[in-house]
């Protein structure tokens, strides 16, 4: 029963629109999901959705401020030019790979869809494409038929699909982190907790962890955890330089290109996982980073780590996660918040 609730939540969150800087739709979807689950909710200057589930404190002490951040934004394409034939040139918003674009369906905030086309003849198909050599085709036959404007943004679009334990969506990075955070708030509902949990659905992560930068400053948390996806090392021909596998549990960040996790905070998470028998993996990622990078550097420094849901094909139109890893992430956060936090 609970499993199907999470699946339906994942469908709603992955199918909502929200490219970096243009997160209005996904924000309103999440806001509706968490209504009644939190004590306070606000939208800040950068568009972060900041929700507080207040804790009761413990042993006469006030609870610690725990910031949990999942980013709402997904990578996308911004229209830079509309030509006389009605084709749209675009700039990347975040880390868009040319290889992943050709033939992809994209969707604008107003529902307009398009296909990413490739310049040149048949020979161009055998070469690694650059973004400059591609365009969005909205099916127009002349410019007058195009309602899209320069500056409009589009995201890779495909409906959510569940297949066994595997879940597919173009926006798993990082809607699955948002799913973990919303489901955590659901599980905390009606439950006594000691700590003040700041559930922050951040903006503009994909273009420089910007929302986390300002929201971490405002909250000034005692500890912070980013909830995001990570790559896996389990492809058919991948040497397992990355010891993270789909379906083997939540990944605990040790290090990535942007940060080294706080050792004491990681020890608390490991202790909670081992005590509760929650499957986890140790993640050492050699590319990329998360909101944890920005939160760690807020003010005079915040003890920070990240919990990752392993995902295959990150930043492509068809990203895969495993629901068992999602469940492990939620369970670990519940176990962590049930315990004293001192780092």
């Amino acid at each position: 029963m609970k499993g199907s609730h999470v699946l339906e939540l994942t469908r709603r969150l992955t199918e909502a629109f929200g490219v970096s800087g243009y997160e209005d739709e996904i924000r309103s979807v999440i806001r509706a999901e968490i209504a009644g689950l939190v004590d306070e909710v606000r939208v800040d200057t950068l568009g972060n959705l900041v929700a507080l589930r207040r804790g009761a404190g413990a042993a006469g002490q006030p609870g610690k401020r725990v910031m949990l951040a999942a980013h709402m934004d997904q990578i996308g394409l911004m229209v830079t030019h509309i030509d006389e034939k009605g084709y749209l040139r675009f700039a990347p918003v975040g880390g868009v790979f040319g290889l992943a674009c050709w033939g992809s369906q994209v969707r604008f905030a107003d529902g307009t869809v398009g296909t990413v086309g490739l310049d040149g003849g048949i020979s161009a198909r055998d070469k690694l494409p650059t973004l400059n050599s591609m365009y969005i085709d909205v099916g127009a036959t002349e410019r007058a038929g195009v309602t899209v404007q320069v500056g409009d943004v589009a995201a890779f679009w495909h409906a959510f699909a569940g297949q066994g334990s595997a879940w597919f969506a173009p926006s798993m990075d990082d809607r699955i982190g948002c799913v973990v955070l919303v489901q955590l708030l659901r599980e905390l509902a009606g439950r006594e907790i000691a700590h003040d949990v700041y559930a922050v659905f951040t903006t503009q992560e994909e273009i420089g962890t910007r929302g986390a930068t300002t929201s971490a400053y405002a909250i000034d948390p005692y500890v912070a955890i980013a909830l995001d996806v990570t790559l896996t090392g389990d492809g058919p021909h991948t040497k397992p330089a990355l010891e993270v596998y789909l379906g083997r549990g939540v990944a605990l960040k040790i290090m990535d290109k942007g940060m080294i996790s706080h050792i004491g905070l990681n020890q608390l998470l490991i202790a909670a996982a081992e005590a509760e028998g929650i499957p986890y993996q140790r993640e050492v990622l050699q590319v990329g980073s998360t909101d944890a990078r920005a939160m760690q550097m807020a003010r005079s420094g915040i003890p920070t780590t990240a919990l990752s849901v392993p995902s295959r094909h990150v930043h492509t139109p068809s990203q895969i996660v495993d629901r068992r890893d999602v469940a492990a992430a939620i369970a670990l956060l519940v176990a962590f918040l049930d315990r004293p936090i001192t780092v």
Binding site: S20, G21, Y22, D24, R27, S28, R31, V43, D44, T45, L46, G47, M78, V79, T80, H81, I82, D83, E84, K85, R89, A91, P92, V93, V150, G151, Q204, I207, G208, R210, T213, T214, S215, Y217, A218
Partner: protein, 364 residues
Amino acid sequence: MMALCDRLERLSNAFGPSGRERDVRALLRAGIAELADRIEVDALGNLIAYKTGADPEPRLRVMLSAHMDEVGFMITEIQKSGLLKFQPVGGLDPRMLPAKRLVIGDARIPGVIGAPPPHLQSAKQASQPPRGSGGQPVELDDLAIDIGAESDKEAEAKVKVGDYGVFATQFTVLSRDSSWPTVRGKAFDDRVGCAMLVALLAERYPVDLVVVFTVQEEVGLRGARVAAYRVEPDAAISLEGTICDDLPRPPDVDLTPVTRLGAGPALTLMDRRLVSHPGLLKLLRDTAEAEGIAIQYKAPGLGGADSGAIHLTRAGVPATVVAVPCRYIHSPASILNLNDMENSVRLMAAALRRIGREHLERAG
């Protein structure tokens, strides 16, 4: 218009590469002494001018910024031959540098970046665009500055390692035609912003205005970062000189230029450092419409301005950029249209009269 042009001329001719903005700062400080209520200079060298608003408290505090620094050169080595090796300060295209005139240091020692004469190039080379004009790659390592010294000893008497250089370009009016008034000069990025800020300080607005002339923008938006931390603005707008590539293209190329000369103030939707705040964009659009000022949008995804640092300050600041198109930016000679500059000032002044808390909010 003439006041703006005169101010731009003096600012454009001033010497002010990133980290050595003091001449520009002195010029500006004198220019705003009678216009601001209070003036300070912070630890990094930002010049900050405060002008209290006319509305009763509480008032919004709006920060406008423009950077004083320009791209330039720093001398890194004096060679036995008397030639000077250098590092660029800010974004310079090495292909553009050969045969360009510079002035170096406080004594404004004139020099030129050496280039091989056409006589020494093969017929094949000569049929191609000249070395350094985009035809062949030029490495910074191949380039040196010649100040006409016979030896290192003679050069050292004039120039020291660590001295700065800037392009030796004097401001020139190209066209006085009021429908297309154009001027040429160096450092329009961002002395055009500085000149506009001085003009904007002449008026007292309903809101508290904090005008910041920043340092070290070209090397990483450094001055703006600390200035915004100090000022804690409710909203921030950077005034810039920006990329303009509206020259004729081959007939089969169907692409929008980044901006067009003479097409009005250029608004930023998204650049490499900022997604503009939707409320401020609406303010500028509505203001332009009400005032009958034509605006254009800068092609998304390119460049970055001080607002990129300002908007991430503390708990976040609503921010955007308004820019004047400048052809041949970051070169010895940029060209801009004074009408774009005047219309940018009109737009900003009208926006400052209009801005309210409703422009700083986001949809739920």
